[in-house]
Symmetry: C2
Subunit: 393 residues, 2 copies
């Protein structure tokens, strides 16, 4: 029995598992220290009322004969896919069909699983820094990865590749740098993919944080994107579903490679290895798109963005070089005195009781950077800024 | 961009998607026909009160600051893993550690994903007939599959392989044949795996249907199984979670191959490509193990087993040859007049409005057999038997 040795090429721990275990160790040694978590990017606000109403109603149904629901349809309930189709696509002029939407338990799973429908021998490009799921899951599958550097010099937008790349992962608003991309810049990637027969995996998990009308919410706002791109969405950050688990992937039927529609391949994968998101969670997801739900989640997003503005402004006034935090819930800062990100992680944790994420965890180009999230409690976020202000660095 | 061409070796549709689409087409043509579904094996009884109480309480928590929960711990909440450990293992004398239990969104996902930690070049053995997820997911990964015939002659228990097999999938109580295995028979597979350095994937999804004390609920009741076996569990059939989605895998730390613990590999896979079962569903899962929960789900299982007995007895008295349905919720019958399973499927659907599953869908040795499930409504199940009685075959 031979193991999958590609796993041995991974760093030993998944980044956020490593952070969790460092924090746990610190807390065990310092049980009375109050820790503010601006690290993993977990949300802190409870579910809004319209979502709670939908969830409670659906739970009630599960307890009664006649309204009980078992296995969900393969691709998700139509009520949810209809709501997604209308609000996330039709309203933006994107012509996406119901059969192109696959409801899942979250964008992380989809990010990790989507590579299965591709051959092992494709060349994959990811940004550096990168959300580690894109790279780790391709390493696990034994694929060659090309890194596209994102630095202060290129404004954290990767250059269009000058060699042939088969699969390109893009995430905007970006995790971890908080960078956004204009429609014109994104169109260049779509055009590159069309010319090179490449496929773009577009992670739109943070699109709800976009307020500037010039910035696209979906890659399908670009000309020709339905022939080159798969798009992934999450309910985690726009509606607080990190603990409920819901997301969706769009795989257009017209995305055909080697004569096969990727929609068909993903449908087969989805039906064979997955059994649907819980009915009650899909009802909660539907409520995100109701008139009352839209108002409530938009308010929640605005409140998180007040944290982002506070972090950005506070750190700037302290002399830090800060990126992101506008149209995006992540703040990406240069560490002081060219410290390594892990050194700054330890310093912040030990001297200020603040958990962030070291840039190194996202790749080599992340060295000397550090990520803070806007998803904390407002009071905690203010307190964190005060603590950083008094740090002796 | 090259697609994963191993997908092209699959049958075009996942079995149960194919059945769903045939039924949908029939219903569209016959909108007034009343259809009884004894096919896909979905449960029909609503969640029991103790589970509903836990679910409602957890949903309430999600709506309030202070009790809201975001991302779950990688392997699942300890409250659930503790309950699993106590009730499913310690109480049966199996020494399973908390860190060996991985909570997931269901046994189907785990069945499908577990093969990722193995090299492509392993030889995989599955029974024939087989739950298609085991074989399909290995075909998708390009592995060679050896089929172990299960027929009336060997009582649907496969022979111990006489060649070297690396990975063996076993499922008892069996889906689709409803066969059970004694501890002595199972021990032979464990011994084979120990001698050949093989790994057994043991799917125990239906263990709650075992009432005979001589039949093991877990493979870890066998000597040495912790060095050779991974076990998969579901909450779908014992507690009606088909629409809630919850399961778990046990990957013992002592299961080491090529110097690497499979526990470490699976932990890395789980943390990288999955983000945990919903908190509210894990609380519902915990309630399955509460004293009141145990009583209520046992009652539900007994009621389903009354359906099994009814189907078994009715078909036997009509002259059918029937297997399973004792210690297992599936009834496996020989089709009349040596019809093919798909012909019998069409006949039952068109002339009796009953949906079952043709044996061919589970493999070549399933030809001429047919699966019915005990998960229907009691009244519907009785009605189905009456309709079959009046069939002109």
């Amino acid at each position: 029995m031979k193991i999958n040795k590609d796993y041995l090429n991974l760093s030993q721990n998944y980044l956020f598992s490593e952070i969790a275990s460092r924090v746990k160790a610190f807390q065990a040694e310092n049980p009375d220290k109050d820790i503010i978590r601006l690290g993993i990017g977990d949300v802190t606000k409870p579910l809004v009322r319209p979502i709670m109403d939908a969830l409670e109603k659906a739970v009630f149904e599960m307890g009664h004969k006649g309204t009980f629901r078992g296995y969900a349809p393969d691709k998700g309930y139509e009520f949810l896919r209809n709501a997604i189709c209308e609000s996330d696509y039709k309203s933006r002029g994107c012509d996406i069909d119901l059969d192109e939407i696959f409801v899942s338990d979250g964008a992380k799973s989809d990010c990790g699983n989507i590579q299965e429908i591709f051959d092992k021998d494709n060349i994959v490009a990811v940004t550096d820094p990168v959300y580690p799921v894109y790279s780790d899951t391709n390493i696990m599958a034994g694929r060659k990865i090309v890194y596209m550097p994102c630095t202060g010099e290129n404004g954290f937008i990767p250059e269009i590749p000058d060699t042939k790349i088969d699969i390109i992962y893009l995430c905007f608003p970006n995790n971890p740098t908080g960078t956004v991309i204009t429609k014109d810049e994104l169109q260049k990637f779509v055009d590159y993919a069309a010319e090179n027969d490449s496929v773009i995996i577009y992670d739109a998990a943070y699109e709800a944080y976009i307020s500037d009308p010039a910035i696209p919410h979906s890659i399908y706002e670009c000309e020709g994107a339905k022939d080159v791109a798969i798009e992934l969405h999450s309910f985690s950050k726009n509606a607080g579903f990190t603990g409920l688990r819901l997301g969706y992937a769009v795989v257009p039927k017209s995305l055909v490679r080697e004569g096969v529609s990727l929609n068909t391949l993903w449908a087969r994968r989805h039906a064979t290895k997955y059994n649907g998101a819980p009915y009650i969670v899909q009802r909660a997801g539907e409520a995100v798109y109701s008139p009352a739900g839209k108002v409530a989640v938009a308010q929640q997003v605005r409140e998180y963005m007040e944290n982002a503005a506070l972090i950005r402004d506070s750190l700037t006034s302290m002399g830090y070089t800060v990126y992101g935090g506008v149209n995006a819930p992540y703040i990406w800062l240069k560490t002081p005195n060219d410290m390594s990100g892990w050194d700054f992680f330890d310093l912040l944790l030990k001297n200020a009781g603040i958990v962030g994420t070291p840039g190194e965890g996202f790749g080599n180009c992340g060295a000397g950077y550090f990520r803070l999230t806007a998803f904390g409690d407002a009071r905690d976020t203010r307190l964190a800024m005060e603590r950083i202000k008094t740090l002796q660095i």
